[in-house]
Structure formats: C-alpha cells, structure tokens
C-alpha cells in the first residue's frame, strides 16, 4: 500500500490523545513512584534523597518490618484461597455450564455473575452483618446450628479465610465466564473424537480441555494475583484499615494505605517514602511473577 500512510507523522494525531493521558496518569506516575521510594518527605518542597533508607526502615525497623511481613504473608494466603476456591470452583462451574444438553444454563450463568456487579463495599458490609453474632447468632442457635454463632471476623484464625471467601463469592463470575468462553472455543469434532475413543468425562477434561484452555488459565492466574496484591476495599469494609483483628487481615493494600496515604490512627501523618517503597516492591514482584507466567502460558502473544 501507499508508503505515506505508514509514517509516524500521519498517525500521530490519532495516537496522541491516548498517549498523552495514559503517559501522564499511568506510565509516568508508576515509574516515578519507584523514584519516590528513594526520597523522604511528604510534599515536594521538603523532599530529600535518602537512597535505600526507606527500604532499610521497612525491613530493618522491627516495628515496621513485622507489619510488612505480616501483610505479605496474609496476601499470599489470600491469593492461594482465591486460586483454589474461586478459580477451582470457576473451572468446575464452567465445565458444568458447557455441557450441551443441560437445561437452565443461561439462568445459572446469570446468577453466578450477579455478585460481580456489586461494589466490594456492598458485599463487604452485607457479609459483615450476616456474620455478626449479635445480629444472626440467636437465629443460628434457634435453628439448631449453634456453632454458627461465632465471632468469625473477630478471631485471628478465621478472619482472613472468611474475608477471602467473601471475596471469592464476589468475583466467582469472572473466572467462570472466562472458562466458559474458552471451553466453548474447543472444536466439537475434537471432543466427539475423544468420546468415540471411550475417554471418560474426567479424562477428556484433563487431556483435551485443560491443555487447550491453558492460556486462559494463565491469564486468570495472573489477574487473580494482580488483584489480590491490590485488594483493599474488602478489608476496609469487613474489618478496618488496620486489618483487624490484630493485623490478621492486613494485606499489602491496607498496609500501603496506612503507611503511604492516610497515616496511622490517631495521628494520621503518612510517610510517602515508606509507602512508595512498599509500592516499588509490589511493582517488581508483579513483574517477576506476571511476565514468566504469561510467557509460559501464552504462545504467540498479542497478534
């Protein structure tokens, strides 16, 4: 085709608005946050270079490091629960929903996806009420299930799993629908052939379906990982920004909010450098996990 249409100049005008907004409000702040982690001070005028000082404090000051490692561990537990429950059930539901001869698939699909349309805040407040022993406890006792009258959100052993399960409840629709879409893409001839060979449902799933939907498994894994290292709202709604009880639901997201954005109750003066240091570690951790995962599951890439 014509050469002149293939120059930067002729296309620039189309790209410029998107590039401008994206660079100013996403790429630049992301990269510059990494730089901020090397400085102290909350406002530009009294910012000074401290090298790796913020990182030294994050890991060296025992009061801070114990919180960081606590939140770090909790976030991984939070992630694993999502992988197993949310994505595991998501795959199960997707397989069931793609059985061609079953009735009511559309209805089930619609219902599974409903919580995803809710704000995390709504979900969190709602479940917080339902799990409140003061509110529902007597009811559980009256129907003969007294063990349900329990301070689920107040016990350090149960709080994190419960919060994670509520989050799974909310987001279940996304992996389910992604898997459904991927499974539908598998050619019917292939499945027919496997059936004729006498393969059982499970065998077909393991040997034919799963390898074919590997790219989607990879993407969902990555999305889950990214979202969990970002999670904030659910803990904000169900516990508080301290990750109550006793920091047992403190995630990287709430830790970042406390140190970098809001400051600790009751004084409330944030520490931007420390916050940026937390963000920087998260940034590299994401790169470290996301890039290899995508590379190994996505053959061919973008095109």
């Amino acid at each position: 085709m014509q050469k002149k249409t293939n120059t930067l100049g002729s296309w620039l005008v189309y790209l410029l608005p998107a590039l401008f907004i994206y660079t100013l409000f996403m790429a630049f702040p992301l990269i510059d946050s990494l730089r901020l982690s090397l400085y102290s001070g909350n406002v530009p005028q009294d910012r000074s270079f401290v090298g790796l000082g913020n990182f030294a404090r994050l890991f060296g000051d025992e009061r801070i490091s114990v919180r960081y490692w606590g939140a770090f561990t909790n976030t991984w537990i939070f992630f694993i629960i999502h992988m197993v429950v949310q994505n595991g059930l998501g795959i199960l539901f997707a397989v069931l929903l793609t059985a061609e001869t079953m009735r009511g698939r559309h209805l089930y699909q619609t219902i599974i996806f409903i919580p995803t349309t809710f704000a995390v805040l709504v979900t969190g407040y709602l479940w917080k009420l339902m799990l409140n022993p003061v509110w529902s406890g007597d009811f559980f006792v009256s129907i003969g299930l007294p063990f349900l009258k329990y301070p689920w959100l107040g016990d350090t052993k149960t709080a994190l799993p419960i919060v994670a399960l509520v989050s799974c409840w909310q987001w279940m629709g996304i992996p389910t629908m992604m898997f459904v879409a991927a499974l539908r893409n598998i050619s019917i001839e292939l499945l027919e052939a496997s059936r004729l060979e006498g393969a059982s449902g499970l065998q077909t799933f393991l040997h034919i379906k799963l390898p074919l939907i590997k790219p989607v498994v990879g993407i969902i894994g990555v999305l889950t990982f990214v979202n969990n290292f970002n999670a904030f709202d659910i803990v904000f709604a169900m516990e508080n920004v301290n990750g109550a009880p006793e920091y047992s639901t403190d995630l990287i997201g709430t830790l970042f909010y406390r140190y970098g954005i809001a400051g600790q109750h009751p004084i409330g003066i944030p520490d931007a450098g420390l916050g940026a240091a937390i963000a920087t570690i998260t940034f590299f951790l994401l790169l470290l996990v996301v890039v290899p995962t995508l590379r190994s599951t996505q053959r061919g890439g973008g095109e």
């Binding site: 406002v43 409140n132 009258k149 107040g154 301290n242 109550a244 004084i267």
Partner: protein
C-alpha cells in the same frame, strides 16, 4: 481529517480547561461564607443551631458545617489542607495529632486571639499548646468516660452501684448468672476498647496527671504492678462481654445497650445523645477503682477549633474564634453542644441535660486526667491497643501484655 483534528483539539483543550473550571466559585462581595471541618458527623443539627446563633452576631458571615467520618478525619483534613481546599475553620485534635498539623503549617497561630489566654486555665490550654507556649486552637469541649447502666434492670435485680472494682466484678457475675449479657463492649473496632474502657479506667489504677508524668519521664515503668493490675482488670471483665465480643463493633455495642440486650456499657460521654429516646431508665457511674485506691476520672480534652493559615477570610475566621472565647459565645456554644461535651472555659456555665450533669457530678471530689497516651506517648497507642485486645482474648497474661508495651518505651 479536518473534523478529526477539531475533535482532538477540543479534547486536549478539555484536559487543560478542567483544572481551571475546578477552581471553585467565589462568593459575592460583602457576604462571606466560611466552611468548618469536623469529625463529628452526628452533630450536624446541633452545630447548625450554634452557627445560626453566630449569624445573629455577625450577619454577613455564614459558616457551613462539613463533617467527615471520624476515622478518616485526620487523613482527609490533611488532604484538603495540602490541596488548598481545606476548610476555613476546623476542629483540632489535642496534643500530637494537632501539633503535627500546626508544625506542617496548616493551622494558624491562635495565641493572640482576644480572651484565649485569659479565659482558660493553663491545664485546659495545654492540650493545644506548643512547647514554646504558642496556641494552635481555641479549646472547645472535653469528654468524659463512665459506665452506662440500665437502671430498670438494676432495680429489678436488686443491684446497687458498685463502689469498687471488686464490687463491679461481683455485679457482673450476678447479672451473668441470671442470664443477662452484663457488658456491651466489644473488640472489633479496636479503638473503643482502648479509648473508652482501658484508658477510661486507667487513672483508677495508676493515679492522675502527677503520676502520668512520672511514667512519661521513665521514672515509673509501664509494666509496674499498677499497670499489670489494669490489664488484669480487662482480662477479668472479658468473660462478661457479649458472646462473640471479638467481632462486636462499637455500633453493635450501642445497639446492645439501647435494645436492653446488655445491661452496662463502658463508654464515652459523647454517646449519651444516642440513648435520648431510650425506652428504659438509664444512668451513669464512674468506673470504680480497686479497693484501696481512689476512683479517678478520665476527663479528656477532646476538641478545639482552629483556623486555616491559608484561609481567604482570616478576619472573619478570627472573629468567630474570639467569640468562642467570650462569655456569651461560650455559653451559646455549650448550650448547643451535643450532650456529653463539656465546656472548658472558666465562666460558670450550667448545662440543662440530666445526663450531662450526671457526668459532671462524677468529677466532683475526684482527680481527673486526659487519656494516658495522648499527652506524650502517642507512639504507644497501637501497641497498647493490641495488648488490651490480646489480654482480653486470653492470648497473653496481664504481665505479658504490660511487658510488650513497656518494651517499646
């Protein structure tokens, strides 16, 4: 192509114009509107009444009350101040939380506001005073802490107000054995168990301000026998909290007391308004001291009002603060303050609410002090909070709880 360029230009222009459009509107000449920031979302009605009264004094000044959720107040206030959209007038926290904002240059220096230095006692000025004597706010109200109790149930069960901590535990035991939930307090929100209960009763165990200073200087240790006894008291009270008190929030506690599901509630005076329409008779008593010690009250200087250093109407803002330092202003303020907030000015002011006076009566003849960590040990707020929670859950002994805080001093 031309059309495309026009669209793009408009878009880019929009990006540039947005900030200008967002600069806000200027009020017409003569009329001045001031905004007032606060963490008291519950007090909108009362504050609007007070501000309407001020309108009679200064007809050209309108003050708008714009409160924020309490836990977010400091963070959002800083956010506004940083962005030059801070309120003209605002509530100021006492001690370190307020000092930080003064040091950061957000609060104006209030030292020379007429009447301020004359009409308040030194101890009432201190919470909003810098080391060099500068005042960063005008003291506005103090809060108290006590035990709310359901008089109807006490009467029915033939119980009397306990005079010592040991009696208090006996009352708790009796109530529990008769099938009641004795105490409404819970742990879910964390701050309330520390601020209302533990710090509320701490003066009973360690004494008043003169003793507090000895702890602050390091002369007395934060894990001495008095402190261990205080943590032990929390552990002793825990079994009488609601089943599942680990996840009972502050609001749950209020509801438990208001709906007569719990008989007592150790709480701050600011809650008194909530039970105004309660269907039962309720009263207050001081958290009693253990035998052999004197009952003291945690009477905490809580709020002051200050002005934004960068306000565009400094004269009007200053005039309002000066009004609060006059007899009529202070009287008007306390008449309109919500129940459970007590004026700090020197003039004798009579309160009309029964329960407010009941609170004040608890002070008579007793020593009072601010919440222990506020004046100098704010860093210990979170560790002490966690220690109290752990000891109440039975995860640590009172000694271990005290040690864990003392180790950080």
């Amino acid at each position: 192509m031309k059309r495309m360029n026009v669209v793009l230009c408009v878009l880019l222009l929009l990006c540039v114009l947005l900030p200008i459009a967002a600069q806000g509107t200027k009020v017409s000449v003569g009329e001045v509107t001031l905004t007032m920031g606060s963490w008291r979302t519950d007090d909108v009605v009362q504050m609007n009444r007070l501000l309407a009264e001020y309108k009679k004094v200064a007809p050209n000044v309108t003050i708008k009350f714009q409160p924020t959720n309490p836990p977010d107040y400091n963070a959002t206030l800083r956010l506004q101040l940083d962005s030059n959209t801070g309120p003209d007038l605002m509530y100021a926290r006492s001690y370190a939380a307020g000092e930080e904002l003064f040091k950061a240059g957000y609060f104006a220096d209030c030292t020379d506001i007429p009447g301020l230095m004359q009409n308040f006692t030194a101890s009432n000025l201190a919470p909003w005073q810098m080391d060099d004597g500068k005042m960063f706010a005008v003291p506005f109200a103090a809060v108290s802490h006590a035990v709310y109790y359901n008089k109807d149930i006490f009467r029915k069960e033939g119980l009397a107000i306990p005079q010592s901590w040991e009696d208090f535990l006996a009352v708790l035991r009796t109530l529990k054995s008769r099938g009641y939930t004795p105490l409404a307090n819970g742990l879910a929100d964390e701050w309330d168990i520390l601020e209302t209960f533990f710090l509320g009763m701490l003066p009973n165990f360690i004494g008043g301000a003169d003793q507090r200073v000895r702890y602050e200087s390091g002369e007395l240790k934060l894990n001495d026998a008095s402190f261990v006894a205080a943590y032990q008291a929390m552990a002793d009270a825990a079994p009488y909290c609601p089943v599942g008190f680990e996840s009972v929030t502050y609001n749950d506690s209020q509801v438990l007391f208001a709906s007569q599901k719990a008989v007592m509630f150790v709480d701050g005076s600011w809650t008194a308004e909530v039970y105004k329409d309660a269907a039962f008779d309720w009263g207050l008593f001081a958290i009693p001291a253990p035998r052999g010690k004197k009952t003291a009250i945690c009477f905490h200087p809580d709020m002051a009002i200050t002005m934004n250093r960068a306000t565009t109407h400094p004269d009007e803002a200053r005039a309002f603060l000066a009004w609060l330092c006059t007899r009529e202003g202070a009287t008007m303020a306390s008449e309109n303050l919500p129940v459970g907030y007590f004026p700090m000015i020197n003039f004798p002011i009579t309160l009309t609410d029964v329960h407010a006076n009941e609170f004040l009566a608890l002070n008579s003849g007793k020593e009072t002090d601010a919440r222990f960590v506020w004046p100098a040990l704010m860093d210990l707020y979170a560790p002490m909070n966690q220690a109290v929670i752990r000891v109440m859950k039975g995860q640590v002994t009172a000694k271990q709880a005290a040690d864990s805080v003392a180790a950080l001093f």
